[in-house]
Amino acid sequence: MQEAKEQASARDFTSPQVLEPWTGIKKVAHEEYYTSGHRTCQGCESAQMMRLLAKAAGPRTIVVGATGCMYVANTTYYSTPWVLPWMHTQLGSAGSAATGTAAGLRALMRKGKMDKEPINVIAVCGDGGGADMGLSAISAALQHTQYNLLVMLYDNESYANTDIQISGSSPYGVNTSFSPPGKLHRIMHKHWKKNTAPMLAVGHPDCRYVATVVASNAVDTLNKVRRALSIGGPTFLHSLNPCPKGWDYDPKYSQQIGELAVETGIWPLYEIEDRKLKMYGKSQHIASGVVKRKPVSEYLLRQGRFAHFTQEDIARVQARTDEMWEKWFLPGVIALSGA
């Protein structure tokens, strides 16, 4: 026991944990650190993302969560499905809470009030908490390069917890409580989805790892989480989480809708490690031209939130998606083109 303690204190607690990637689905650990008994919707991909996140991070992890579905649904009156220590933080403060937790742990270890060991710190926030309200706090967290932490933005493209209002991440034309299609105005939401992950990657040159993930691609997601936690410094993951409630589709198709988002090119999967961009999964095949993008109608028409779309609206989304892959400076990633 004494020996183990000495070994632990000898370890450099300022370095991150080393989490090797899992080489295949059968190599993935059985242990669950976020389990059953959460009051989420049937087929909730955000819950699935929490599960993958916790599984990939392992037992020596602290999670802080901003207000959102993954706060309210997971902590119904003095009960929780979390195995890991989890703490709620305010809607816009996922980044600050992560920085504070990482700094606090380091101070306690330095002063000898805690065993010295690397502990993963993860902050989770929804698109409301992350892409809208908490953006500045996340930006600040990504500037604190001395701390090892991961900010995970789980994006269901609306404020889903309060019954589906528009967020900065809501896609063009979508039906929400704030943008109901009417007879005079069919399209009430005319903004394009905020491109959060590239914005943070480009704007924070010292941030060593930014990636986009989707829960339908489970093994890659697990390994992106493990990479983000191992590389050191603050890192950021943006995950698209199909939401059967707000997107209005049969919950059994959660995995398929996630796949379709990638296959149609609407949600590109990439990682940016030390400022090097690499597409992965089906997006890599799309980018290299091996696989053609599926038409966006296959994705849009499976969801009740786009049920009011006409051919004209679908064509508009298709054109913007084509532009993203054909005209952008970095296809699918950076919305700039040459003069």
């Binding site: 919707c41 087929g43 991909e45």
Partner: protein
Amino acid sequence: MATGSVEIVYRGVFQKTLAKNICRGIVFAARKQGKVGIAFSRYSDSPERNGIPAKQFAVVADTDEEMEEYLSRYEPDSNDVTIVADDTLCKGIESWAWNGLQPVNRMLKAGGTLLVTSTRSANSLIRDIHRKGEPFNLAVVKGRASFSGMWVYRDDHTDMRLLGALAKVAPHIVTLDSIVAAINEPKKNDLKAASAKQAYDLVASTTVGANQGNDTVPFRFDLPGWRKMEECLVVGARKVKQEVPGWDGGYVPGRNPTYKKFTTRTLRPVINFDTCTKCTICWMQCPDTAFDITPDGYYDANMEACCGCGICEAVCPVANCVTMVNEEAFTDNQSQWRMWAKDKKTYAAWRVERISLPAVRSHGFQHLGQYAEEIANERR
């Protein structure tokens, strides 16, 4: 001089619009009769989640004073009629952690009526409904549970038929004439009025005697008051693994003991372990961590944790290995793997019998025009 209250028990989000339409119909009909009416949903069910049981209420009173008096309570706890919009709710409802399994007729007053939408017979429903000390009436509106989603409504007149049937079983709350008048406002709709009238004529009611029905004791918890909670309201974490007898070498995750979620289920996966290739995808994609890893490396859907989303069926690469079956075909939550491991032949026969029962359910929007097609097929 009287007050009447109706409680609607329904599947969160899937039947939210349906329940809202019923409540609105009751309130408008009451006003047609010169009464006062009010409708509201149960605060604690908000935010609603797909499939998780929720409640809305409609209260009707002769005078404003009576209404005010009635509403001076937390929620209507003794209702004249409980409308059950989906018959699988008859097995009991668990809306939140610590609620335990609440019988669907718990808030029904003695001699009240449980009005259920179902394709099943009253006798078959009594098998599921927990017994009550006092007798009550059970009325069935024949039809499938109507599910749709947040934005696109499945307008199959289930709301109108339930309103018509309500007028029959509780004429002291609303009459058929007032219901029809409410339906025709602001726009006359003969088809909807006809649906309500037809349900009024067809609905049959039977009396369920005291202590008749499902005799299992619903699970319950003692809600910890704030004095019993830990300092800073710390909630104890779950264990990483449950030790289960006879499960050596397998893995059962440590689940949240105070919220089981299985009353959310309307379909359950039935697994063919003979053709299972142990590919792990169902286990990997399950958002509710419902799959236990068995000692021999299979994936057994735990029926206490499964909420019946159907992702496992959708992602399984083996044809007919996972089949979603209507929850009405089951009376317990036993492990399918244990049944299979004990006697493979008996399990195979059981499985074939179960999956032969048609699922006859859809869980919301799949493609544009689907609801209209389904309604047209049902009419035929």
